[in-house]
Point group: C2
Chain length 358, copies 2
């Protein structure tokens, strides 16, 4: 099979014959084939075992026809290497046994060595690059400092982030020290993924939409920017043409000016902003990823086609568009609809961009 490097070229804002497409959380519960593996292993066991992680990473490539593989893992796997106890409790999600509640707690944390603490992630990358044989590019990823800090402080998932924000506001020095430890950990972790073969990297700031713009600017942006700048420089030095970075700040479509200042090569969008407005707001030096409502995959095929068409039309022939859902695919999605969605993007975008469908 010919090498499909559409995603890398789109991320670099090179002309592509059609729009590449993948889905956040594509290696996940909506696939019966994933659930079959998951039934035999715990979630963390799957993350920690390269063969299992690689197996489910490949499923959507083989079954759904996406244009990229994103490594199966979790943003929180960097925690144990920093001294944060991590477990996943069924029905509750991640639980941090020793949450960060004081400057003393911050002082106890270390910067994780990516090889020592997450060598299995690097091994999964190497395994996948061999197994993919260039069929599609491999995306590595990490959580952004704010999102990681929110889990560390709240001790797990949160709705209002009261402890996290109170810490940010009331203990600015301890907050800065904590954010810097995450910044260094995440930077090293992403650079190690480049060494291990990641061809594109996505930084997930999954919860940053809870932060008001001025707080983001003061207490979050400098750290996100440092991660993106340093990883960018590392990729430029290591890989011909560099390693494109996708910056997905979920829920942050009303502060895209700041998200762009934080950087990245590709700005990832949730579905709350119309693509026509996004194209106006996002500087042409960035590629754009997004942004269909993931729930649209519960609509009829005709509705899916229409929604895909609206987004593609809004982007037009602007170079640098990666199609994606505006959020992770829902576990209740019918795989046939997901497959239809992928095919619809390929077919319609080929018509607009004048290329072959592949």
């Amino acid at each position: 099979m010919a090498q499909n490097d559409l995603l890398i070229r789109a991320a670099r804002r090179e002309a592509t014959e059609r729009t590449p497409v993948w889905m956040m959380r594509q290696a996940g519960r909506f696939l019966p084939e994933y659930r079959a593996v998951r039934a035999q292993h715990s979630f963390l066991e799957m993350c920690y075992t390269p063969e299992l992680a690689a197996e489910v990473t490949l499923q959507p490539v083989d079954l759904i026809g996406v244009d990229a593989a994103i490594i199966f893992s979790d943003i929180l796997v960097v925690f144990p290497g920093m001294g944060l106890d991590l477990e996943f409790q069924s029905g509750k999600g991640p639980v941090i046994g020793n949450p960060v509640r004081s400057a003393a707690d911050v002082a106890k944390l270390g910067v994780a060595d990516p090889i020592e603490s997450t060598g299995y992630v690097m091994e999964t990358h190497r395994l996948l690059r061999r197994e993919l044989e260039g069929r599609v590019p491999l995306i590595g990823f990490a959580g952004a400092p704010f999102t990681l800090a929110s889990y560390a402080i709240e001790g797990g998932s949160s709705k209002e982030f009261q402890r996290c924000k109170a810490f940010m506001w009331n203990e600015p020095e301890a907050w800065a020290a904590l954010m810097m430890k995450f910044t260094q950990t995440v930077t090293a972790y992403l650079c190690a993924q480049i060494d291990a073969g990641a061809q594109v990297l996505q930084l997930f700031d999954s919860w940053v939409g809870a932060v008001a713009p001025r707080d983001y600017e003061r207490s979050v942006l400098p750290y996100t920017k440092q991660v993106l700048d340093e990883v960018k420089a590392y990729g430029d030095a290591k890989v011909e043409g560099g390693v494109p970075l996708i910056h997905f700040a979920n829920g942050a479509t009303s502060m895209l000016d700041l998200v762009q200042r934080a950087g990245g090569d590709v700005i990832g969008l949730d579905w709350r902003l119309d693509m026509a407005h996004a194209v106006e707001q996002i500087d042409p030096r960035f590629a754009i990823q997004g942004n269909i409502d993931p729930t649209a995959l519960f609509a009829s095929e005709e509705v899916i086609d229409a929604k895909v068409g609206e987004i593609l039309t809004a982007v037009g022939t602007r170079p640098g568009h990666i199609f994606n859902l505006g959020h992770g695919i829902s576990k209740d999605t019918d795989p046939a609809r997901a497959k239809h969605f992928i095919a619809s993007v390929k077919e319609q975008s080929a018509r607009i961009r004048g290329g072959a469908q592949q």
Copy 2:
């Protein structure tokens, strides 16, 4: 005590000597005095009993010093009059016993008569107007058609609104019929509140932030606009100077162009948009309500003061600002911090607007 009509004047974009301030969900669980009443009665019993509803409505006026009373009630009280079974289960929130899942279900629903089905809300208004004696204005409210439809279809609260959106996309005629029933119900309900003495009305579109802009434009906006237009005309005919309408579309700060097209006199903002940008984006014919992060009340008094100051400075002397949280006050908020926040808005805004603090 002198009449405090700051909120009404600000909503009409008249000059005020300082910025009026109130808090969404101010009659609620953060107050020990509220919890004392609630301990004796179920939530719906409190809604259904004018004396109890009036008692907790007045608490934040007396205890915290807000510039408006908002009637204690729930957006879902219109459901029984339409034929939707409503109960509140502890720990689970609202549960609709007969959710809407088909065109046939929609056909069974009626338009609620506001006097017959929610006469107790009107009685609460009359009671409060007498008890308030003009100390502060009385705000009535209703849920917007989309938010009500989401509860009716999902059967309760939801995170992803899969059933609701699938219904909207896959059954457009039944969706239109359902939205029209909510439109007529809500319009009559708000007009009846005007008759009963409401001096300002707020329309809560609490969940509309889950809807992509093009879906909002096609399938939501026309109904919201009809409610706002018709209630506006009714208020203009009934009350000297009209009854100001606050339109709060939660989570919709990246589609404010459409929210403004739907109408209202005051655009309510959550905290995800910087006020400096809001002032640029919102047409001068609208007043603005908002928009401090409600979690900021967990910060120190100094931080609260600084955040209040930033928002007031961004608004400057533009006429028509009502200060509020960007979302309902958290139940865990210390009442002393809430009180400090209110005092801070009063004091700082009087300095900017050149008036007396009152």
